[in-house]
């Protein structure tokens, strides 16, 4: 009993610690990639290749003055950053990040909570994530931030539909909402080959859900200066950033889990190799996730931002019908072929 609780606590600590560390180095990687794409160096002063830059940044935001605007709505203004960060961290709880090991006389799955409605849980939690952005934008009592909050609320509702519908094809193929079942059903054949259209829709919608370029209408620097977090400074600002980048990590992990076989390794059955197999599965998961993290950065420095009407057009008139057609086709395929 006690050992079970200890295992769960250790898993939670590993996941949260892993996400926070990845966020720190993701920000550094973003600046390095930006430098590379724009033919300059990027940060290289703090430590070797700038590797200590995240620590310097963290200390800097901690020491900065925390300003609250005079006309802001205090309670919600202070709560909003936490409302962004918490859902971002909780979502990862159901994502399996490895095959699991046998230790202490029991099977330890590399996943914090193995619940039977994993996919629904993810959609439920990500749909709450919008509150922090919307309320943060409203409570700052600033026109720009209010516009950012409004934009993000409309954007997130619109793209959630396409996001959910694109996954249903996979659920039809797998017959289960558990993420581990979905991963195991992909041994030998990744879902991306079975559901290429769904993958494209999911990829686009997930970029919109995480408020990243080319869909960062909520915080577009050029028109809204910084959008919903314009008034935030110091540690609250870095909590917004932590939330945003944690969302990116969870989204990449989700893409890998749903479409690229999760922790499975192509052509190798990792469950046969004991601890080394488990290690290999975690590495496989990390490498795939890392690729999609890189894709996020790559897209950011390559594509320009959508206009707002283009964004709505894409979401409602292109992605939604496409997702419905894909669902229809998949259902017909399963029934008749």
């Amino acid at each position: 009993m006690l050992i079970d609780i200890a295992i769960i606590i250790i898993k939670i600590m590993i996941v949260i610690g892993g996400i926070i560390t990845t966020v720190a180095y993701l920000i550094l990687a973003e600046r390095k990639v930006a430098g590379f794409i724009q033919e300059r160096y990027g940060p290289n002063r703090v430590g070797l290749w700038g590797l200590l830059q995240p620590i310097a940044d963290g200390v800097k935001t901690l020491l900065k003055e925390d300003i609250t605007p005079a006309r802001a709505n205090r309670i919600i203004y202070h709560l909003a950053p936490a409302m962004v960060l918490a859902p971002a961290l909780v979502t990862f709880a159901v994502v399996p990040f490895g095959s699991g090991i046998d230790a202490f006389g029991r099977h330890i799955a590399f996943q914090v909570a193995d619940i039977s409605i994993g996919i629904l849980f993810i959609f439920a939690i990500t749909s709450i994530g919008v509150y922090g952005v919307v309320l943060g934008g409203w409570s700052s009592n600033n026109k720009y931030s209010l516009l950012g909050g409004l934009r993000s609320s409309a954007q997130m509702i619109s793209y959630e539909i396409a996001l959910g519908l694109s996954v249903i094809g996979i659920l039809l193929l797998t017959g289960s909402l558990r993420l581990n079942d979905i991963v195991e059903a992909q041994i030998g054949m990744w879902n991306v080959f079975r559901q290429p259209v769904a993958f494209m829709i999911f990829l686009v919608a997930v970029f919109a859900e995480t408020n990243r370029l080319p869909f960062d209408l909520a915080e577009s620097e050029q028109e809204l200066i910084a959008g919903y977090h314009i008034e935030y400074s110091g540690f609250k600002y870095s909590m917004f950033m932590l939330g945003e980048y944690s969302n990116i990590i969870t989204a990449s992990a989700l893409i890998v889990t749903l479409f690229f076989g999760g922790w499975t390794v192509p052509f190798i059955d990792v469950t046969k190799f004991g601890y080394w197999g488990a290690f290999l599965s975690v590495v496989s998961f990390a490498v795939k996730t890392g690729f999609f993290l890189f894709l996020y950065l790559w897209v950011r420095w390559t594509l320009p931002r959508f206009r707002y009407d283009q964004l709505m057009h894409l979401g409602w008139k292109v992605l939604l019908p496409l997702a419905l057609l894909n669902l229809l086709f998949t259902a017909a395929w399963i029934t008749y072929v």
Partner: protein, 167 residues
Amino acid sequence: MTESLFFIFAAMAIVSALMVILNRNPIYSAVSLVITLFSLAGIFLLLEAYFLAVVQIIVYAGAIMVLFLFVIMLLNPGKEAKFLSPKNPRIFIITLLSMAFIGMIITLVSGSVNYIGEAASSTGDLGTTRNIGLTLFTKYLLPFEIASLLLLVALVGAVLMTKRHLR
């Protein structure tokens, strides 16, 4: 365990529901309603309605309440005038009506305790996704299709109504 959880969720739901109707700032009302809906999702979990608990969060907290917040922020109505003063003639009628309603329910429930009887023994998988889906797509297929039609009509209606220039 279930009982104490029920009381926690119920207290949370009632208190935040009161906040919904007593706050003068509509944004606070909306946030309180979100808390109510979350506690209700918890109560659904206690009643073995697992699928509906998650749907409650996705549909109500994730979509409907965001829509409410969107409209509140769009219209920016500001605070309502004080309504909880003795000068407001409605307040007595409302209190009376609500009390009468609660009294009615209490009489009804306490009178019918003998008929309610013990709860059926739990099979543990009452409200799982599988069971809901099986029932929905066999016994209730026609209502399900009609519901989808209703949603389509609502979609078209909402778009039409918010168009500025109707030609």
